[in-house]
C-alpha cells in the first residue's frame, strides 16, 4: 500500500472514531490514537465541531419526546404473568393435580432438571433390579403358569371338559378336589390336572377319577397321566 493510501486509510479510521471521542466513550488506546492524529492534523478538529452540533440536535430531538405516558407502568404491572407458587408449595396446599399438570404443560428449567434426575434414578433402580435377578439365578423371576407350578407330587390326570362346562363350575370342581390345572389345553382339548394328595396309590387315583366322572355336567372324560 502506498503512503498516500495508508494516510487515507488512517484518516478514515480516525474519522470513524471521532463520534465516540466526542462522547468520551473511546477506550484509552483509541483515544490516544485520535489525539495523536489531531495533533498532526489540526484541520480534523473541524469535524469535532460538526459532531458536537449533530449531538446537540440529536439530544434535543430525543428530549422533546418525553417519556412513556402516565398509566403505562400500571398497565405493565397489571399485565405481569401471575406468580406461580412452587411445586412443593402447591403440593402442600393440596393442589397436586394443578401442580402435576403445570409441571408438564409449563416446564421450567428447574422442573426439567428435576424430571431428568427422576428419570435417571428410575433407570438406575430398574437396572439394579434386573441385575439382582440375574445374579441370584433362582426361580423367583422364572416363568410360571397361572395355574401353579408342577411339583411332581399328588395324582396327575388328563381331563376333557364338556362343551357346556362353564369356568365357575370347573373352578369349583377343581377346588373341591384340591386340584390344579398344570398343563393344557393339549390336542383333543385335554388338560393335565394334579390332585394334591399324599396317597398316590392306584386305588386313590381311581377314587379321584370316579369323583370326576360323576360330574358329567363338567367332565367329559378322565385318563390317568404320567408325571
Amino acid at each position: 500500500m502506498s503512503d498516500d493510501k495508508l494516510a487515507l486509510s488512517e484518516r478514515k479510521e480516525i474519522e470513524m472514531l471521532l463520534p465516540w471521542y466526542v462522547t468520551g466513550r473511546l477506550d484509552a488506546k483509541d483515544r490516544a490514537r485520535v489525539e495523536a492524529y489531531l495533533a498532526r492534523d489540526p484541520a480534523m478538529r473541524r469535524q469535532l465541531d460538526l459532531i458536537r452540533e449533530e449531538q446537540a440536535e440529536d439530544i434535543g430531538a430525543n428530549e422533546v419526546l418525553g417519556t412513556a405516558p402516565a398509566g403505562a407502568l400500571e398497565r405493565l404491572m397489571a399485565s405481569l404473568p401471575e406468580r406461580r407458587p412452587g411445586l412443593a408449595q402447591r403440593v402442600a396446599a393440596g393442589r397436586l393435580y394443578e401442580a402435576v399438570v403445570d409441571f408438564f404443560t409449563a416446564p421450567t428449567a428447574r422442573g426439567v432438571r428435576l424430571a431428568a434426575i427422576v428419570a435417571a434414578v428410575l433407570v438406575l433402580v430398574q437396572a439394579a433390579v434386573i441385575t439382582t435377578l440375574i445374579v441370584r439365578g433362582d426361580n423367583a423371576g422364572a416363568y410360571q403358569t397361572a395355574s401353579g407350578q408342577e411339583t411332581g407330587e399328588g395324582i396327575p390326570l388328563l381331563v376333557t371338559f364338556t362343551d357346556e362346562a362353564r369356568a365357575p363350575a370347573i373352578a369349583g370342581l377343581l377346588r373341591d378336589l384340591d386340584a390344579t390345572i398344570v398343563d393344557g389345553p393339549k390336542p383333543g382339548g385335554l388338560y393335565k390336572i394334579r390332585v394334591r394328595t399324599a396317597d398316590r396309590s392306584e386305588a386313590a387315583s381311581l377314587a379321584v377319577q370316579r369323583r370326576l366322572t360323576d360330574r358329567r355336567d363338567v367332565v367329559k372324560s378322565v385318563l390317568p397321566a404320567k408325571d
Partner: protein, 187 residues
C-alpha cells in the same frame, strides 16, 4: 453503589419475582427505552406498547441476565429487536408511509425554504430523514452515549460495522443537508 451495580441488583431481585424492583428499574430506564423505540417506530402508542413489552420480557427473563453487559445495554438490545420486528412487519405490509414521506421531504417545499434560515432546525430535519438503521445508530452514540462495543451488543453487528455504519450515517446527513442547500464542508 454505582448505577450499573444498582441495576444489576434490581435485575436479580426481579428474577426473584420482586415487583417493587421492576417498578424501580422501570422508573430508572423507561424514558430511555421509550425514546429509543419512539424514534424508530415514530408512533407514541406503539412506542408505549413496545416499552411495556421490553419490561415484560425483563420480568420473564431476568434470570437469564448474566451481568456481562450493563442493564441499560440489555434493555436497549431487547428494545432494538422489538422495534425492528415492527419495522420489518411494516415493510412487509406495504410500501410504507415513512418512505413516501422521505421522498416528499427531498423537495424544497415552502416550509423547507423557510427553515433554511434556521440551520439547527434543518440539521434536525435531516436527521429525521435518515433511514431507521442510521437514526438508530446516531441515537445510540449521541443520545444514549453507548460505546462501540455496547452498540455492537445492542444492534447485534460487529464492532467494525458499528463504526462504518455511524460513518455512513453522518455522511448521509451531510448529503441531505447539501441537497437542502447547506454545505458543511464534509465529507
Amino acid at each position: 453503589m454505582s448505577p450499573a451495580a444498582n441495576d444489576r441488583q434490581l435485575v436479580e431481585r426481579i428474577a426473584a419475582q420482586d415487583q417493587t424492583a421492576l417498578r424501580a428499574l422501570y422508573a430508572r430506564h423507561q424514558g430511555r427505552v421509550f425514546r429509543f423505540v419512539a424514534r424508530l417506530v415514530r408512533q407514541d402508542a406503539i412506542a408505549e406498547e413496545l416499552t411495556n413489552e421490553v419490561f415484560l420480557e425483563v420480568w420473564r427473563n431476568a434470570g437469564t441476565f448474566e451481568g456481562k453487559a450493563s442493564a441499560s445495554t440489555w434493555l436497549l438490545s431487547i428494545a432494538h429487536h422489538r422495534a425492528v420486528s415492527v419495522l420489518r412487519k411494516r415493510r412487509e405490509e406495504s410500501w410504507n408511509e415513512e418512505v413516501a414521506a422521505e421522498i416528499a421531504d427531498t423537495d424544497d417545499d415552502p416550509e423547507v425554504v423557510a427553515q433554511k434560515v434556521d440551520k439547527s432546525a434543518l440539521l434536525r430535519r435531516a436527521m429525521e430523514q435518515l433511514s431507521p438503521e442510521h437514526r438508530e445508530i446516531v441515537d445510540l452514540v449521541y443520545y444514549h452515549e453507548m460505546s462501540i462495543a455496547e452498540v455492537s451488543e445492542i444492534v447485534g453487528i460487529p464492532e467494525n460495522t458499528v463504526k462504518t455504519r455511524m460513518f455512513y450515517a453522518r455522511k448521509r446527513l451531510s448529503e441531505i443537508l447539501k441537497a437542502a442547500g447547506v454545505d458543511r464542508g464534509w465529507p
